[in-house]
């Protein structure tokens, strides 16, 4: 079967077309066109939707909704999404960021999917034609998911409450050794009152570091304060081994990098902004 592209003006029609075998949804092309170029003959047809809502970013009342077709570059330059610039710019180089979409990133296999790590820490909601799912549930089920993602939504974290770190061997553009996103709320005395920490490359898809989150509660962000959280940071992880790093290495340096992120020791990190 020669390849073909089918374009639909609504998500509904595109979803219907995706029921046929050999079809793959075309977002920015960075995953599926690559697969076809590399000889994945299971792909015979690209399906895309041009429904305008998929390309929209809306920010209102502290809530953000990002259409699934929005690119990393569009997020990085959006005036109201400064919090996420670092995470959006963690994806690829400039050309990739002009192509790679939020929707695609949700499906990107480890070690890709750094932006999804951010979305997981933000506890985003993933919307499809068929309804909404918490991102954690969505990620768990994504391999069997055929419904086109239309958007993701989340509450903007308080000022300085979002932290993101991607560790890579190559600068400025390298794929992840690991990535960490954290949404932290602190009480007036500096103790952590709420924490969500998401990890990339510590499993076959982004995951939450729930033991570490729990261990941070009521603690201050000092070396001593975070020590219990670092001690349990690897709980539940099954880090990936790939050409970039082994599972052993990832497990070893996770607490180191998490500690640096929590202590604000990451170069270029804006903990206030």
């Amino acid at each position: 079967m020669a390849l073909a592209l089918q374009t639909f003006s609504t998500v509904k029609d595109a979803n219907a077309a995706l029921k046929a075998t050999g079809t793959r949804y075309l977002g920015g092309g960075t995953l599926v066109v690559r697969a076809a170029n590399e000889g994945d003959v299971s792909i015979s047809s690209f399906v895309r939707s041009t429904e305008p809502s998929q390309s929209a970013i809306t920010v209102s009342g502290g809530t953000v909704r990002i259409g699934a077709s929005v690119t990393m570059a569009a997020i990085a330059r959006h005036p109201d999404l400064g919090t996420l610039t670092r995470a959006a710019r963690a994806v690829g180089g400039p050309a990739i960021r002009n192509m790679a979409t939020v929707g695609g990133n949700l499906f990107a296999p480890t070690p890709y999917g750094d932006f999804t790590v951010a979305l997981l820490a933000l506890d985003a909601t993933v919307s499809t034609d068929g309804g909404d799912l918490p991102i954690e549930t969505f990620l768990a089920k994504r391999d069997g998911s055929h419904a086109i993602v239309t958007s993701v939504g989340f509450a903007l974290p308080p000022q300085g409450g979002f932290r993101f770190l991607k560790v890579s061997r190559i600068k400025p553009k390298g794929i992840s050794v690991l990535s960490i996103a954290a949404v932290l709320e602190q009480a007036a005395d500096g103790t952590v009152s709420a924490a969500r920490i998401a990890l990339g490359c510590m499993a076959d898809r982004p995951m939450r570091a729930k033991a570490a989150e729990k261990a941070l509660l009521g603690r201050k962000l000092t070396s001593d304060g975070i020590a219990p959280a670092l001690a349990v940071a690897s709980e539940g992880t099954s880090p990936t081994t790939d050409p970039i790093a082994s599972a052993w290495y990832r497990a070893q340096v996770l607490p180191v990098h998490l500690g640096r992120l929590l202590l604000g020791q990451v170069a270029g990190m804006e903990t206030k902004a």
Binding site: M1, A2, L3, E38, G39, V41
Partner: protein
């Protein structure tokens, strides 16, 4: 860049018109305007695309190959197997009488590394070739494989390549290329310290931005023009002539504009099969490695293991050096027997050592055949030698840079392979490095010269 004209000024005239001038490169305007024509910047009507069916196993017997479904696939024009290649078993260095022929163009009865070419599919489009390749059925009986050079050299190890019969290349000097100079054991016996260390590398890819490939066009007169990015035109033409049993006058190679080579494009892999495809179909054929093929199928720089044993005196003189080098050729020779031999000629490095013993082995394992790369036979050896030098200096409590001055070769010094040193300049490089890096050494070293002692 700074040219230091004060060194060796007595040996050089600087009165030239064109040499030594920073003339602009004549090819750069083409590069910056995108007009430089690389081999793939050609498009012939009716051009076919060649895709390889490759072995998924490291070592396996081929029980059968079934191409019937693939042949029926729309767009497929021809499918080639071992029986279609006139002289299927070859080795490229046969041109300089380094045999035996040990490699197949298309696997015949056996595969010896994961990724080995088994069946070539020629189709109207890349996509049709990929789809048809997926329909070729090869029945394999998986065999035990060996990946570790030490394991491969043990008795009873699976034999990687029957054309050799054992898992190492057989030189006229035996299982290894040897250099013997002085009496190394006597040297060790008289040394203040002995240090034996092992160094290891893994395969390294040339990773040129332009992948290996060629486009072959029939000229219509029984001649075939092969547009190629080979690093060696006649070397490739002559090997293709042997493999295809075609007289050289039927072959016309055009190249010379290459998107990076670094030694990765001297293996004569894509051209013969593409020419054969063009000959059998009468149509132009394009065979261009995918990036994945370039990374994992094309020959890398060999992994090497280097064992160095040194005897050193408290005053810094190295009095004996024994080096055992192992080059991991992968499943086939390609250029590796040459590289291992080149290594033997390179040790013990740019130092004058009275007692030297070198053994270099070319070892076969079930991995991607390795071959030449920038610094062939030397790069990894230099890593081992120069880390060893650092360790020796620290062992005797000497500054590592000064330690190298003590041992540096100079004009007239006899090398282990029995050539007198000529044109040495190691000392001057180190003197300049001492200044540039603000790494002071004793005045006596700064006063040294590579010119023959007493000259």
């Amino acid at each position: 860049m700074e040219l230091r004209k004060n060194y060796f000024a007595d040996q050089r005239k600087d009165d030239l018109h064109e040499i030594g001038q920073p003339r602009p490169r004549s090819d750069s305007p083409g590069h910056v305007t995108g007009k430089t024509a690389y081999f793939a910047d050609r498009n012939f009507p009716g051009m076919l695309h060649l895709k390889m069916v490759r072995s998924p196993h490291h070592h396996a017997r081929i029980r059968s190959i079934d191409t019937s479904e693939a042949e029926k696939h729309p767009g497929v024009v021809n499918i080639l197997t071992a029986k279609d290649v006139p002289h299927n078993v070859y080795t490229i260095l046969i041109l300089i009488q380094i045999g035996p022929e040990d490699e197949t163009v298309l696997a015949d009865g056996k595969v010896r590394w994961k990724g080995e070419a088994v069946v070539a599919v020629l189709a109207e489009t890349e996509r049709a070739a990929q789809e048809a390749a997926a329909k070729v059925k090869v029945d394999y009986e998986v065999l035990p494989a060996v990946f570790d050079m030490e394991e491969a050299l043990k008795p009873g190890a699976p034999i990687v390549n029957e054309y050799h019969g054992q898992n190492h290349y057989l030189y006229d000097s035996g299982e290894c290329r040897k250099v013997r100079f002085g009496d190394v054991e006597a040297g060790f016996a008289g040394a203040d310290h002995i240090l034996e260390q092992t160094y290891q590398s893994s395969p390294i890819e040339h990773a040129p931005t332009e992948t290996t490939g060629c486009i072959v066009a029939p000229e219509g007169n029984d001649r075939f023009t092969c547009y190629t990015n080979t690093q060696a035109m006649f070397f490739t033409l002559d090997n293709a002539s042997i493999i295809l049993q075609m007289p050289g006058n039927k072959l016309h190679f055009v190249g010379g504009t290459v998107g990076g080579g670094f030694g990765g494009k001297v293996d004569v892999i894509v051209e013969p099969i593409a020419i054969l495809g063009a000959k059998l179909t009468g149509r132009p054929v394009s065979f261009i490695y995918s990036r994945e093929e370039e990374m994992q199928i094309s020959s890398p720089r060999a992994a090497e293991k280097v064992v160095i044993k040194d005897g050193v005196m408290k005053d810094g003189r190295i009095v004996a050096r024994k080096v055992t080098g192992y080059t991991d050729a992968g499943a086939y020779s390609r250029h590796s027997p040459y590289g291992a031999q080149k290594g033997a000629g390179h040790y013990p490095g740019p130092y004058t050592i009275p007692n030297v013993w070198i053994d270099t082995y070319c070892v076969y394992t079930n991995r991607t055949p390795s071959s030449a790369m920038r610094g062939f036979g030397v790069t990894i050896g230099d890593f081992a030698l120069e880390v060893q030098m650092d360790k020796l200096a620290r062992l005797i409590g000497m500054d590592p840079l000064e330690f190298r001055f003590v041992n540096a070769y100079r004009d007239g010094d006899m090398k282990a392979h029995r050539q007198p040193t000529e044109g040495a300049a190691l000392i001057e490089c180190m003197q300049e490095a001492s200044r540039a890096a603000n790494w002071p050494v004793a005045e006596k070293y700064m006063a040294m010269s590579s010119y023959a002692k007493g000259a």
